[in-house]
Symmetry: C2
Amino acid sequence: MPAYEVVVDVMLKPEILDPAGQAVSNALPSLGLPVATALRIGKHVELVLDAPDEAGALAQATTMAEVLLSNPVIEDFRVRLA
Amino acid sequence: MPAYEVVVDVMLKPEILDPAGQAVSNALPSLGLPVATALRIGKHVELVLDAPDEAGALAQATTMAEVLLSNPVIEDFRVRLA
């Protein structure tokens, strides 16, 4: 079976507070960096899967994201081919 | 100035061990999930910047990534428009 590179991006849902993103955002001006209107930090997972086709690889990655990579109570995720 | 949505993905350099990714990878079979040939976990930062144009927004985000979002000793980053 061919190998597919898949990317899963996991972000806190918009209504959930993101203290890490807030801390980075607050630090920008004191470092002389441009101010960000919004800034949120999530997880970026890069994986390689053996699957019969692209749809199969995306389906496998979606299952992984639902079960292991994300917490569905507080996080959303997006799956795409790299 | 228009607002641009920019994404910064920060990953450990390939030669740096990724214990979190390894732990997830090892957990897959015992959860009945498909096995990943490779799996690495990084940070996914979504931000909104006011900039004169797309190139300016990407340049601002690159500066932020270099100075604050990544550790250049152990991490690589990629910047793109969302």
